[in-house]
């Protein structure tokens, strides 16, 4: 709603460079009018209309040029304002209408040449019975024939990355608690042993997983699982049902992402002011209670931007799992490439699909993060004898943003 109002405001308000902007729009319109008409062009029969449009845009360019010259010759002080015919109220109103007309004409030409042109390419290539050589037509033709394969690939990629990230998030929370615990003075020997062991395990896990490529991890996990099940006496087709490439891929991506998310969480937790923990401990809370009630809720808030980034990373990185045969977008694209031998066209399509997925994901995550980080409410009560009005509500949010920066 407010965005609509902003656009309205923009359209009706005066702009200093209106001639510059509209003459650029007019130039674009002229360029479109010089392009070839496609089969579906609706201006095909209306030759005179198009000529009128062309000359209208040319006239606008000429008018802009005159205005520019006037400005250059009357640049001193307010000379332009006083002398120029363009600044009179009636002229201004007419020019405003004219600028709308320029935009409308260019829009019409854009629809006619670009949109209808594209549609005619699409309809043309759909009726082909063999792969056209033209780049765009070929893409349309191949997508029409194999959208099922690509679609299934996209679904698999989304499933792998979304579920993988969610599982990794849960595992990372568990692992980060292992990682950051410290031996307390009052712990007995058993607790000391488990704490030390847990921390060491988390450290080693993080080092190994982050220090090896996910492609290798995927291979290892898939074939190790396969081998184990084979040794237990299952046939290959039975194994295929329980240990499918998708399951192996999901396990790989979850275990891999766990290590990264654990480090992100750790960074977020360590960015929390140590005074928070000290205050909780000074009241008698144990290390664990202080962590759960005070430090972790603040730490995870610090980590949310970097954590959500992990989903975007997983969407892209799941492509390496195509080596174990997971039918993700990468594998699907390779399959289609195998049918048509049109590498560049299809990998451009794959790249665009990944780009769309990551953009949608980061947009959704941005919305989600916005909802989670509720800013402190401003205070309403001023009856306190020493209430200092100016300091209320400001400090908290700035501290928070500082912490966020540190977490990155």
């Amino acid at each position: 709603m407010s965005r609509l109002r902003k656009i309205k405001q923009f359209v009706i308000s005066d702009h200093r460079y209106v001639f510059l902007a509209t003459s650029f729009v007019a130039a674009v319109g002229i360029w479109f009018s010089l392009q070839r008409r496609s089969a579906m062009s609706f201006l095909r029969g209306a030759y005179t209309v198009e000529v009128a449009m062309y000359w209208f845009l040319m006239a606008w360019l000429a008018l802009s040029a005159v205005a520019l010259v006037w400005k250059l010759t009357h640049w001193k002080g307010d000379a332009y304002q006083r002398t120029s015919p363009f600044t009179k109220p009636a002229a201004k109103a007419a020019l405003r209408l004219g600028s709308y007309a320029v935009c409308a004409v260019t829009a019409a030409l854009f629809v006619d040449r670009a949109v209808m042109g594209f549609l005619s390419v699409v309809s043309d290539s759909l009726s082909h019975d063999k792969n056209p050589s033209d780049f765009l037509s070929s893409i349309v033709y191949m997508l029409d024939k194999s959208y099922g394969i690509i679609g299934q690939g996209i679904l698999t990629t989304v499933g792998l990355s979304v579920f993988g990230t969610l599982i990794a998030f849960v595992l990372a929370i568990l692992l980060v608690f292992l990682r950051i615990q410290q031996v307390d003075r009052c712990d007995n020997d058993a607790v000391r042993f488990f704490k030390t062991f847990g921390t060491a395990f988390a450290k080693v896990y993080s080092t190994v997983v982050r220090g090896t490529p996910m492609m290798v991890q995927g291979m290892l996990i898939y074939f190790a699982g396969f081998g184990l099940l084979r040794n237990s006496g299952m046939t290959v087709s039975e194994i295929g049902k329980v240990w499918s490439t998708f399951v192996a891929g999901l396990v790989t991506i979850s275990l891999n992402s766990t290590a990264y998310m654990m480090e992100v969480l750790r960074g977020g937790i360590e960015a929390v002011d140590p005074g928070q923990n000290e205050a909780a401990r000074s009241l008698g809370l144990s290390q664990w209670q202080a962590m759960i009630k005070v430090v972790f809720p603040q730490g995870i808030k610090n980590a949310i931007p970097a954590l959500s980034n992990e989903l975007v990373v997983n969407i892209k990185d799941s492509s390496v799992l195509s080596v174990i045969g997971v039918f993700d977008l990468m594998f699907a694209t390779k399959t289609v490439v195998g049918i048509y031998f049109k590498q560049v066209e299809l990998y451009v399509v794959a790249a665009l699909c990944y780009l769309c997925l990551t953009m949608v994901a980061s947009w959704l995550l941005g919305k989600f993060a916005q909802r989670l980080s509720v800013e402190p409410q401003p205070l309403t009560s001023v009856s306190d004898m020493n209430a200092t009005v100016g300091t209320v509500a400001g400090t908290g949010s700035s501290e928070y943003s500082l912490d966020k920066k540190k977490a990155r």
């Binding site: 000290e278 909780a280 000074s282 009630k293 200092t388 400090t395």
Partner: protein, 252 residues
């Protein structure tokens, strides 16, 4: 200041306390005791070890050697249940350290409820009374981060009081505050002292040390250089080092 000199047992007694950071010896065999109901202020230059001594008294810093006797137990002993003993020792920090993820009331009730000292309703009741005592009953639902420094520090005091401690430690409670707000925190501390709370206060507020405390401890380079009655300390210090330190403060 309701000091009962006949009470023989100190509430907390520090014996031969030693603490070093790396190779730097910060506390050199400190001996020091606080009687019940006593208000002790620790003064001294920056780096003289006063904050470290205070933080050792609830084991936020682990001493290298020595004893801290409190309620018949040695806090500094290995594997003592420090969490249970800390419930009896309230602490107020220079940087307030209110829980930023909670509002004022939850800051006060978190520890009593978590540690099962009270039920939720009782804890809120206690918190309301303590917040009223520090003049913040209108702010109970405000987020901790939205308060001013003086308000935060008063909440921090109320939060510590909600655990009904026997001893309150104040680590430079007014050093992070604007001069015109210092008074509101010192007033709360003065009221607390008048109620008979045992307090150890590390501070640079000499007027507070002189007028409110029962004993002043002057620390210099990791040792207690001089201690005694505030009137005597401020009017007739024995050591040249103490005179020098106090003279610098009395100049302003």
């Amino acid at each position: 200041m309701g000091l009962d000199n006949t009470a023989a047992e100190p509430l907390i007694r520090v014996e031969n306390l030693r603490k070093s950071f790396g190779s730097h010896l910060v506390l050199k065999d400190i001996d020091f005791a606080v009687m019940p109901g006593e208000v002790v202020t620790i003064i001294g230059a920056s780096g003289s070890g006063k904050s470290t001594l205070l933080r050792c008294m609830n084991l936020l810093e682990t001493p290298d050697s020595g004893h801290i006797w409190f309620h018949g137990e040695d806090l500094a002993a290995d594997r003592v249940n420090i969490n249970r003993l800390r419930e009896k020792i309230g602490m107020v920090f220079q940087s307030f350290n209110l829980f930023n993820n909670k509002n004022v009331l939850d800051n006060c009730t978190l520890a009593p409820v978590t540690l099962k000292k009270m039920g939720k309703a009782e804890a809120e009741d206690v918190a309301r009374r303590n917040l009223e005592a520090v003049g913040l009953s209108d702010f109970i639902n405000a987020p901790a981060t939205s308060l001013s420094g003086g308000q935060k520090q008063r909440v921090a005091i109320a939060r510590a009081l909600c655990m009904k401690p026997d001893l309150m430690l104040f680590d430079e409670p007014t050093s992070a505050l604007d001069p015109e707000i210092v008074g509101e925190v010192l007033n709360v501390m003065r009221d607390l002292a008048a109620e008979g709370m045992t307090m150890v206060v590390v501070t640079h507020e000499m007027a507070f040390a002189k007028n409110v405390s029962d004993k002043v401890v002057f620390m210099d380079q990791g040792v207690i250089a001089e201690q005694g009655d505030p009137q005597q300390m401020f009017t007739d210090p024995q050591l040249p080092r103490t005179r020098e330190f106090l003279a610098r403060y009395l100049e302003d």
